[in-house]
């Protein structure tokens, strides 16, 4: 077993799959709640805010883990363009998982809303109230969410391409199964 160099560390793998589930759930919760006038709108929003802040905290931990433990190298025979695409999309995903919750928090602050994570748990505002800033951030929250979903689709497609077609060990570097 050369697990130490061929796979992500256990911490990285656990964080990856836990956060993959959380972030995907957030994307579906987000688009589902804004398209609903039923009670779903309320209870989904009540999940959306604390779950989003949990993602923010985990993303910071994850970035620290990432900086401390560099990922296993991509296969040497992978074309340069694909390597670049992998690198760029991973950093885009890291950026978006940090930016999305920060924008959510900032836009509620700018809209003058109390940022409630539960019946009485309230976060302080992180942006001065401003309708213009609210509108810009609220649209950014949607735009970045769509970008995140498209990046995820490409990411999942690429992971399966590595696992099913190239069978080069990239997928198993994250699943941990060799």
């Amino acid at each position: 077993m050369k697990a130490a160099t061929n796979t992500f560390t256990l911490a990285a793998r656990v964080l990856h799959w836990l956060m993959a589930a959380m972030i995907l759930a957030m994307l579906f919760i987000g688009v589902g709640m804004v398209a609903s006038v039923s009670a779903r709108h309320e209870w989904l929003l009540a999940i959306h805010k604390p779950l989003g802040i949990a993602i923010l905290i985990l993303a910071v931990v994850r970035l620290a883990v990432r900086l401390r433990h560099p990922p296993p190298p991509l296969p040497a025979d992978l074309p340069v363009l694909q390597k670049l695409a992998a690198l760029a999309s991973h950093w885009l995903l890291y950026f978006l998982m940090l930016a999305m919750p920060l924008i959510g928090w900032a836009m509620l602050s700018a809209g003058g809303y109390p940022v409630m994570l539960g019946a009485s748990l309230r976060l302080p505002p992180i942006f001065p109230t401003s309708p213009v800033a609210f509108a810009v951030l609220r649209h950014l929250h949607t735009g970045f969410a769509m970008l995140l979903f498209l990046t995820f689709l490409a990411h999942m497609g690429a992971a399966l391409y590595h696992g099913l077609i190239r069978r080069d060990g990239v997928l198993s570097s994250m699943t941990g199964r060799r």
Binding site: P114, F149, M156, Y161, L164, R167
Partner: protein
């Protein structure tokens, strides 16, 4: 690193590509369905707000309903009597600052004050612990409909006929025939006259809410603001904008006061139907006095950029199972996003020059 794998048979390769395409495709379709793009029959906040604009035109920067109004500021003076039922800090004895808004329903900010017999009061209580309580109340004891679907159908029925500029009476009649729950509201509307003042009206929450006490006990409630001023008379002193003038005039003589009357439901009273009042004998407590001291125009006043979403609630007050509440919350958010986008002049938002009546 890894053991090189033998080259695949073409059939296996095609199978693998099909699997990848299926995985990506299923994820994309599921996302499209949940987001409503692939479920066009679902009632969405967007559709509700589009219908307001369809009916009255688009007035950039203004609320999509209750567009005409004025800001007010003051405070709520709690007497502590509601504390037995709700832990909300606003009910502890003492003052909580309030930014409010009086308005008339309708999407046209230039409509004459006499065009509807209803007035509204919206309030934002800023609690000392940083939590907020926002509420929007109307000057009528019952709402015409009980569900967002019926509200949407009513908006559609009220859409002006392009030929006459007025709603089609046959469509309205068909709507009312299909919605007998509107009867109580229509009976009220028959005798209601547009008041000459905001100050002399009572304002009802209409929707039910739930008070939660220190032991977690839940008590369904409705509330209303009852005025101290009683010199109300119907009809106006003329002009189209007499309400704002009357309010400013009265405030030069001193603050205006209302009492927050909280009605406690008995077990079994409907909490999910704003078309039904509760029996008169239900216990009502006077929770304190709303004191309004100043008024400002809405385009420069502090109420302009507030979304009076009725589900912004402090700990100690919770939503009931009334289906209108989540619909209001979702629709107000959409209206708020549109009007703030117009204030920000974002591309794609309505420009001020588009203030035309269809």
């Amino acid at each position: 690193m890894y053991d090189p794998v033998p080259p695949d048979s073409p059939a296996r390769r095609i199978g693998a590509w099909a699997l990848i395409a299926a995985a990506v495709g299923v994820a994309a379709v599921a996302f499209g369905y949940v987001g409503g793009w692939l479920a066009p029959q679902r009632l969405t906040p967007d559709k509700l707000i589009d219908q307001f604009q369809d009916n009255a035109g688009t007035f950039a920067g203004y609320r999509r309903n209750h567009a005409k109004g004025v800001c007010v500021t003051g405070y709520f003076d709690s007497n502590g009597r509601a504390q037995a039922y709700s832990t909300a800090q606003v009910f502890a004895p003492g003052r909580t600052p309030v930014v409010g808004r009086f308005a008339i329903p309708g999407s046209n900010p230039y409509a004459p004050d006499s065009s509807v017999p209803i007035r509204s009061m919206a309030l934002r209580f800023a609690l000392a612990n940083g939590q907020q309580w926002r509420t929007g109340m109307n000057s009528m004891p019952v709402f015409p409909v009980a569900t967002p679907q019926a509200f949407f159908a009513q908006l559609q029925a009220q859409r002006p006929d392009p030929a006459t500029g007025k709603p089609d009476p046959t469509k309205l009649a068909a709507f009312f025939a299909a919605h007998p729950e509107t009867a109580a509201f229509r009976a009220w509307a028959k005798t209601a006259k547009p008041s000459a003042s905001f100050a002399t009206e009572s304002y009802w929450s209409l929707n039910a809410f739930v008070f939660v006490d220190a032991s977690g006990k839940r008590q369904p409630v409705r509330w209303r603001m009852t005025p101290e001023a009683t010199d109300g008379d119907a009809g106006s002193t003329g002009g189209a904008d007499y309400l704002a003038a009357d309010l400013a005039e009265r405030l030069t003589q001193g603050p205006l006061r209302w009492h927050l009357q909280v009605t406690l439901a008995n077990p079994g009273d409907p909490t999910n139907d704003a078309t039904k009042t509760w029996p008169d004998d239900r216990r009502t407590i006077d929770a304190g006095t709303l004191v309004l001291e100043r008024t400002e125009p809405q385009d420069s006043g502090p109420c302009r950029d507030i979304n009076y979403d009725p589900l912004i609630l402090p700990a100690g007050i919770a939503a009931s199972d009334d289906p209108l509440l989540p619909a209001r919350s979702a629709a107000y958010a959409d209206s708020y996003l549109r009007r703030t986008s117009e204030e920000a002049h974002l591309p794609g938002s309505a420009a001020p020059s588009a203030e035309t009546k269809r």
